[in-house]
Structures are given as C-alpha cells and as structure tokens.
Symmetry: C2
Subunit: 640 residues, 2 copies
C-alpha cells in the first residue's frame, strides 16, 4: 500500500508529481486533534440537521419522487453541493474513526442521492424541480460545480468504504457530461464555477478511465476564451465580466490571479492536477507564476485571499484592506487545495509554508470554537461600532448561511487534514506540518509528538525503517530564524535547503530526531506597497498570527499604539478560548481629540494627543469573534 486510503488527492503512479502522499498520516493528539474532535462530534454529526433545516435533503427527496410537486428549496442553484461536501467530510471521518456512528447516515444520504439521479445520469435538483433547462445557464447554473462535488464525495466514499455505490452515481453523471460537453457536441463551454476539473481528475485517478482526464483537460483549456463573458442567465441581470469567471485569458497565458477568489483557486487546483497527470511543464510554470502573484501581492498575513466584497474577488496588487478583507473561508480552503497539489508536483517547501499559515489563521478563524458557528468572511479588523452594510456578508459567527458553502467545506478540510501533513518521494518521508501522530512513506514509519504550535519541540521517533539509507525531511518553516536539531540526542549539523531539513542515514526503529523551533514573538511589518496597513506591526509567534480583541483590552482599541521598542512577553492561558498562549505588549492609548473639528493637521498628528500607557493583550487570530462583537485588529499602529 503506497498511499493512504483516505486522502483526497492521490496522483497516478506515473504522474509528474515529485512527491506522493504519505501511506500513513494520522493525527492522534495535540492542537489539531482537539479541533478535529469537535469537527467530528459536533460539526459533522449535526450536519444532516442543518441540511434538513435548509431544505437540501428535501430537494433530493423531491427529485427522487417522480410525482413530486414540491418546489426547490433554497436561494441558490448549488444547494446540492452542500450535501456532497458534507458526505465527503463524513466519509473521511468514517475512515478515520469507523466507530463514529456515521455509517448509517452516510448510507442513507448516499441512497437519497442515488435515487434523485435521472435516468440519463443528470443530477441537479435545482433544474429537476424548477423550470430552468439543464445546461443552458452555464454562468450561474453551477451544474458542473455540483457534479464535481458529487464526484469528490464519491471518491471519498469509495476510498473510505470500498463501496462503488456513490462512485457509480458519479460515474454515470460524468459519462452524461462527457456526452453533452465538447467541441461539436451539444454544449461547447465551461461552468461558471470551476470545481469539476479537479474532481474529474480524481475520478480518473480512482477509476483509471482516461475519458475523465480528457474531459477535465477540455474544460481547463476551453476556459479563457470568453465563453462565459455574457453571464446573462435568468435572475442575474448584472454581468460581472470575463475576469470574474477567469474566462478572459487561458490559464497558461495568465500573468495574475483575478476575479472571484474561490473560482480562481479551484480552477488552479484543477490545472495543477492536469499538470501533474500530464507532465505539462508550461502549464506548471504558469501555475508557479500565478501562485507567486497571488501570494506576494494579493494575500493577507493570515493567508486569506480575496480583497473585495464586490464579486468576492481578488483585488488589485497590494490592495489588502484589513476591515474590508473578504478572505472567504472557502478561499482559504481552495488555497490549501491548490498549494498542496503544487507541493506534490514540485516538492517545494514554500507551498506548505503557505498552507501552514492559512490553516492556523485564515482558515481556522472561519471555524467557531464550538464547532457550530462559522465565519464566511474573515477580516483582519473589526471597527468598534460598525454600521451594518445591508447586503454585506457579516463578520459575526453564524450557525449556517443562506449560501452555506463554507461550513461543510471546512468540515471536509479538517477531517482530511492529515493528508496534507506528510508526503513521500523515493528518498524517504517528508513532514510538511507538525502534529502529534503517525506518518509513513517510502517504507519509513514515524511517530511525532509535539505541543506545536504552543511549543517548538517536535520529536520524531522511527517505528519502522527499510534497510539502507533513507531521508527524513522536515520542513523548516519560513518564519523560523533559529532552530536546533538532534538525532538520537546528538546535535545534527544539517542545514535547510530550500526549506527542507534533510536527515539522511540508515534509520533503525527507535531512532529519534528532535527539532526545536525557536518561537520568539515576532513583530512583523507589511511590504511598503500595502497602503492599508502602513505604519503598523502585526504580532506573530510560530505559525500563529495574533490580534487584539476588545474582550481582552479594556477601553477598546481606539487610539491604541504598540510600542515596538519594548519586547512583548508570552503568557500561557489554559483557561482562555480553549487554551491559548497570549502575548502581552506595551503600548499607548491616544486620547480622542475633543478640541478641534478638523482631523488633518500639520506636524505629526500623534503629537497633538494626550496619551497614556496601556498593556495590550493579543490572542491568536483563529480564536477571534468567539466572545461577542467587539473591535478587533491584527495590524496595530506602531510607535518605535
């Protein structure tokens, strides 16, 4: 068994990927185990209730009932995809914890999906119950998007249970799509929302049916020629233009990421799968270029992507406002999907650097500590008394959304998380992320124990090793300036190469590798091109971005300035927010100016204001907004 049964991304044996997924990857303790337990016991377990309340399951029941007169429930064409994402999450959970009691629910809902499928393989309850015509509203219809999530759920179901029941449903739908779409066929076009591309390639990897790979290739190469430019479907009188759909240039010619962030990133994930399976070097180079554009000019400190509430889009280069950050939870998930495929394809560590940052911050902030409330948008600042913008996505934790894409997406990422933590190549095993657990690849099997991210010590114990030399590769995080390495208690002399610490030797069971990552508090400055947070610092420690919340800082955040000449201190607070390490910094609070009516004046404005010393307490960003609606800020005005 080279690869784990439970991974969502399993490149073919003859793919161009430099890495392959680990054959074992299990998280058994520590930070992520706690969050994944809540995910299993609360989020996934309660998912069917949410899907029942929102009408998603009723849509499937109605579609399965030939005599139904029931209208479609929900506001969006893609309601079915919430069910598929929950199914995918539940299947991975079933593989991880077969005793979880989810088997019956999964079986029930798989049967429901199968029953709802039409004779010809088509399945989308919005069109089955409504008056629209299938395949006529490619911009907003989301039929291929839903199909893609169905395929991913089916792949998960098959890998987790061995059953072909859902895989056959997905295959029939894929076969139907293959008869409809293509040059000279009924429809020559693409879906407004990418997703089917990566799903088709995973279906190909699971079934070995090359038609699915070719269909994915068709969708990926057809896009970028303005096929979606009109976007004038029923009920959508506003045409967002070809950039929104990422349909204005072919991916391989694109110079920058643009448009709807989740669409852009899902598309890139699919293109990465294609480059992986085909070895297309020019496509890989385009993806490297686009990844660098996204990360170096359009990504927040938290790893969040998408600067505009308008059209949920990427913004201009370096346009990264804290308060108006959209940074949808699904975009963080999509970013992890894309980066992990690039990590496997290239073997380069920087992709996992971004994944780490995104997981601990931009993604995890979207998941309430209770497992029952969610954020759709993940801004880096909330004003003290914000006026409501009618129609805006809220930045308050919410049990479920009218457009509920994020919660089940977060569930499937959390349960699939170990898959993204380790990989193998012909040299040995790579650990990309540090979590207590078991990992194996290329014959090398290890146990990891660590209290990361609160403490920097990672102990790797070899459980099994083949004869001869192997390499254990440990990612040295890009944020880490100082580390110590010990192998069986002896200092290791290895130095990082392109982000990897490579320990090569003939390993024996019981060998230990101990990596100590120094975790000083870091005061981080933005690139000077970022207008929105000039003159500010952010507090970071290890992979965690911190923020100030009103709940910890009496008097609120108005006028607060951090004194960066005084070193902050660290305080462990097991009582707070599920157990966190807080950071306490010295600062000042500038008093409001009550004397004048004009807020722009000569000399330094700071000098006009009386101020007083204040102690600033920062908490990990991921834990924000779990204590009401107070002010929050990641970037803090700096006084040197």
């Amino acid at each position: 068994m080279r690869t784990p049964l439970t991974g969502p991304v399993l490149p073919s044996a003859n793919s161009a990927a430099v890495h392959r997924p680990a054959s074992v990857a299990r998280i058994t303790g520590g930070f992520w185990a706690r969050r994944r337990r809540t995910n299993a016991e609360v989020s996934i377990r309660e998912g069917p209730e949410r899907l029942e309340e929102a009408g998603n399951l009723a849509n499937l029941r109605a579609a399965a009932d030939a005599g139904t007169t029931r209208a479609f429930s929900g506001d969006f064409q893609f309601q079915d995809s919430d069910v598929y994402k929950w199914l995918e999450a539940a299947c991975w959970q079933l593989a991880d914890t077969p005793e979880s009691g989810l088997a019956d629910e999964v079986a029930r809902i798989v049967r429901l999906v199968a029953a709802a499928q039409m004779e010809d393989g088509y399945l989308q309850t919005y069109y089955q119950l409504g008056d629209g015509e299938p395949w006529t509203e490619l911009g907003w219809g989301h039929e291929l998007y839903c199909a893609g999530h169905l395929m991913q759920a089916a792949v998960a179901h098959h890998r987790a249970t061995g059953s072909r029941e859902l895989l056959d449903v997905a295959g029939r739908f894929a076969d139907h799509i293959e008869t409809v779409f293509g040059p000279g066929k009924q429809v020559d076009g693409v879906c407004g929302h990418p997703e089917v591309e990566t799903a088709l390639i995973e279906l190909y990897r699971t079934t070995d049916d090359k038609r699915y790979l070719e269909l994915a290739r068709y969708f990926l190469e057809r896009r970028g020629h303005g096929v979606l430019a009109s976007g004038a479907d029923r009920g959508h009188d506003r045409d967002p233009g070809p950039e929104y759909w990422r349909d204005h240039t072919p991916i391989r010619e694109a110079q920058e990421v643009t448009g709807h962030a989740v669409r852009q990133l899902y598309l890139l994930a699919g293109a990465a799968d294609l480059a992986t399976e085909t070895g297309d070097v020019r496509l890989r180079q385009a993806l490297e270029r686009l990844w660098t554009d996204a990360v170096s000019t359009k990504t927040y400190l938290t790893g969040g992507m998408g600067s505009w509430h308008d059209w949920e889009s990427f913004g201009d280069a370096y346009e990264l406002p804290s308060d108006r950050a959209y940074t949808e939870t699904c975009a963080a998930i999509a970013s992890v999907h894309f980066s992990w495929r690039m990590a496997l394809l290239t073997g380069e560590a920087r992709y996992s650097d971004l994944i780490e940052r995104t997981l601990y911050n931009g993604f995890l902030g979207g998941v309430g500590l209770d497992g029952r409330t969610w954020l759709y948008v993940n801004p880096l600042q909330r004003h003290a008394h914000p006026h409501e913008r009618p129609g805006d996505q809220t930045s308050q934790r919410t049990p479920w959304f009218r457009c509920a894409c994020c919660p089940p997406n977060a569930m499937r990422l959390l349960v699939g998380l170990p898959h993204y933590f380790a990989s193998a190549d012909d040299s040995g095993l790579h650990l990309h992320q540090y979590a207590t657990g078991e990992y194996a690849g290329d014959g090398l099997a290890v146990r990891v124990t660590t209290e990361y991210p609160w403490h920097g010590t990672v102990t790797v114990t070899v459980d099994d090793a083949p004869a001869g030399e192997r390499t254990l590769s440990l990612r040295l995080p890009a944020w880490c300036a100082h580390f110590r390495l010990a192998v069986n208690g002896e200092p290791g002399q290895e130095q990082p190469k392109r982000g990897w610490l490579r320990i090569t030797r003939t390993f024996q069971p019981g060998d230990t590798v101990r990596l100590e990552l120094a975790l000083p508090v870091r005061l981080t400055h933005p690139h000077p091109y970022v207008d929105a947070v000039r003159g500010c610092v952010a507090v970071e420690r290890g992979p965690l971005v911190y923020c100030l919340e009103e709940a910890d800082n009496a008097g609120g955040l108005d006028g607060v300035v951090l004194d960066s000449s005084t070193a902050p201190t660290v305080r462990e607070r097991p009582d707070l927010l599920g157990g966190v390490t807080t950071i306490v910094a010295s600062g000042r609070r500038l008093a409001p100016d009550e004397t004048g009516w004009w807020p722009y004046l000569p000399d330094t404005a700071n000098a006009r204001l009386a101020d007083g010393s204040v102690e600033l307490t920062a908490v990990p960003y991921y834990a924000w907004a779990n204590r009401g609606d107070g002010a929050m800020r990641v970037w803090i005005p700096e006084r040197r």
Copy 2:
C-alpha cells in the same frame, strides 16, 4: 433691496439667522470666473442636448400629450429632477448674464414642464407614463424629491426673471402635496430621498405661504420613526434598512450622521432652514452636533463625504479609505448647502472653512476642465492598473451618467457660487471666500481683486459706505498660520476672533483693506485614528489639496515615498491643466522586491528595498483625471 435677487437661500426677514445673504455678490474675474465661464458656455449651454439624448425632455413631452403611448425613458424614477436642476442653473445664469442667450431655452422648457403637469398639480413623468401608482412607493419613488427640485427651479426662475409661470406650477404641486400628506391624510409618511424639505422652506420664503413651512416641518419631524423601514418597493428587493434613509432616529436626537450621504446632507440642509425660520435652539444644537460628527470623523481631506460605495453611505468613524472613497460630487454639493445654511444661522466661520475646502477640492474635482466630463465619485487614490469592479461607479471622467444627478447639480452650484461668498449682519459685510468681484451688504459695498488661490493677496476697495462705523469681516482661513493686514497702507492690528478678522471703522469710498495670506506648502498629517492613511502626508497649499498623478511622475507612483525633511518648492505652470501652481517635493522610489514571495517580514519592510531619489510633482487635486487613467494619490507615504 437687502438681499440679492439671485441667491438660492434667502432666510425670512424675521428668521433666527445671525447673517443674511449679501445684497450684491458677483464674481468678475480670477479662478472661479474662468470655471464659471466654462460652466455657462459649455455645461449649461449643452445641457438641453444631454437631457434630450437621455430622454428626460421626451418624458415631459409625452406626459404633456394626453394621447401618448410612449414609455418612460431612463432607468430611474427621478429623471425629471435632472431637468429641474438644469433649469435652476440656467435661471441663475440668466440673472448673472442676461445676454447669455438662454432665455428662449428656459422659456421653452418651463412651458414643457407646465404642460406636463396634471390637473390636480401632480407631476412626475415616471408615474404618469408608467404603471406605478403615485405616492405608493415612498422609498424609491422620489416624487417629493423631484417636487423639491421643481420648487427650487421655480424659485430661481421667479427670482431671476420675476415671472410666476414656473412658480405657479411648483405652487400647484406643493398645494397638491399638502392635501395628500399629513397626519390623518391620504399618506402619513416621508420621501426616501430628502430634498423637498429645504425646497418647501424656500418656496415659503418666496411666497410667504406658511403652509409650505408647516409641510416642511411635518416631513422633517415625521422622519426618524421608521416610516420608511421596509423600503420594499417594486424593483427593489433589497431593503437598505432605516439608517440608509436616515429614518431610525429623529434628527434632533441623532448623535451621528449615517446612511446615504446625499440624503443625510439634504435632510440636514432642510433642518437648518427650519431651525433658521423657527429659531428652534434644540434643533440648531442637534445640527451643530451632527456637523461636527461629520466633519471631524467622516470627512476626507478634500471635504468629500461618504466612505462607502455600498449604498453611497457615510461609513464608520474615521473609516476613510482613499481608493474606495465614494465622496459623490452631489454629496460635496449637499455639504456646501448644509454648511452655508449653518453659516447664516450661526455666523460662525468654520462652516465657510469647510465650504472653501469642499469647493476647491472635493466638489471641483467632479467637474472636468472641459466642462463636458464629470466624475460621480471622487476618490483620493487610483491604483496603477485597477481591475474593473462590475457595477461600480467609475472614477473616469464621463460625459453624462445613467444616473445623472451630479452634472446639473454641479452646474447650479457653480452658477450660484457668489451667493456663498459673502453675507451681512447688522455690523456690516462679511467676506467668506475670496474671489475678484463685487460684494455688498448692510450698506457697505466693496470690490475685491485677488489671484487667490494661487497668490495670497486679497485687496478690498470700498466703493460705498454708509455714515458711521461699520465692520468689514474677513474670514481668516483655518489653514492659515500667518497673515498681514493693511488698511489704507497702514498695518492693521486686528487679530482673528473665531475665524473672523473684523475691521471696524467709518469707511470711506476708496478705502482699501489688503489681506496677505501666507501660502507656504503644507505637509499635512491625518488624525491617528484614520487607519487608511497612517504613515502618509498630504501636500496642501492655501485651500488646495494636491495629488500626485502618473502623468507628471514618470515611472508611476508605485513605491513612491515623500521625504518630508526637505522643503518642497512651488512652480507656476501656466501651460498645465488650464494654469496651475505645481509643487515639487523630494522623494524616493522603493524598488519592487523580486526576491521573496512573502510580503510580510520582520524589521522595517522599507529597509529591504533598494531605492533611488526621485522628484515628485504634485498638481491640484481638482485637476486630476483630466489626462487619462493613470495612477493618482493624495496621501503619500512619508519618510522623515
């Protein structure tokens, strides 16, 4: 004749206003004369063509034709108001330059309006030609809003020509409204868009019919009780909520400005008229509080108001992003309307300080140098290569808008401008703004010559003076730190009191008062609560805010930093942008960082970047966007 014939705001003789409008106020040369000439000869003259092209006049013709089958032209209920605003502008122009050749056009369009009016006095072509019911869609219907603009046009027509033709039309409509609206009448409610309040009070001032004052009072006091909260009119499925309509609290209880900026400011102008006519001290105090809230926490350096594209609204306190500034041209106009009424009511100079700033910057930026192109939104920054946001208001100069509220609004303000430049009280004459021209009040008649705002010398020559002591009051602009005063060549010892330099003596014809305002370049800092422009400076000189435009700064604005330790220099450029004084500052350009992929790093980010010296050329903000679509910024990152 105590007051000029041509002013739009003429408080009653027994009002509570501390000041009254000047009896003569004419601009005859200099900066504003040139812009007003373009306004007369291009903007106003070509207005009827624009109104014909956009269908506004066709709507009136159709409404006048009992047998019409023609549908309403245009996308908005308030199309008629564009005609009324143009009529108002043309009437003031007629009064200013009777030889302008506008009389026939004015007469023709007045006849058209009169013919379109219904038997009962109702007049709104949207409902006359469409299938909606009058007075059933108060949120979005804009019927009272249009009525208000009709009344203002009628007042202008009457004051400019002496004719009652349009005044009678407006009076019939007002009488009809008075029968429909009120407690226990057909409708007990208010219009979604304030405007009729100030118009009714001006109609009262013109006709002396107290019913109009009472009707205005009813609309002003009825608002704030949630009467518009649902907002669920036909074609508007999104309810913007009561804050948008400024309908969540009564004005006299409000603690802050909120919601749609133009609606908020027109409402406050109407309330200021009411406080002026009734002497209601509590209402005046509420208006002073709201003015201070708006100006000290929600106003841009340019005087622009409205931080949100969403719902064209005021934002949160100190939420003033440069690139996303909405700062609608109409909001700047509305701000002038409100502040001028407060200036007359209270006699305080700060209102005219804001008017000056707004006129020279936030307002004038909306008017193309050619008089033919306009800006709807007036941001303080444009990115180098902005992605289009579909559905967004453009920041490119445009000949006319689908929603064309701004162009005719700008026309009427420009032609009425002298009215806002001088006032009188029982002590004498007050000059609020400095422009070459003739001004008189309280028997004191003066001529002003000045090359303001390019040069700081203002020479006031007395043409006529009554017997006995009088006071000539000159506003010392809030931005001015140094000045010299001379009376008949002798240094004056007067010191400013609350913004006024008061020269009291028995004036003789031929007396001269010479005020020299020092005009150094000022580097201005923002209030430290303004997150968006922390660490930046703005360049100002006199009343003018400056900006960097790509057109003057080869290599663009990316990475540009201003060195504030070197004094900028001034260059007169008669060849540039109609003749401007430019400001040249020393700066650096930070080279883009091509080495890394992560834009957030320890230490100062600036230090990571190679840089080179650069000369920065700033032009007046009002002249921006007249040379294509390059980058622009008002706030410039500072290096001390």
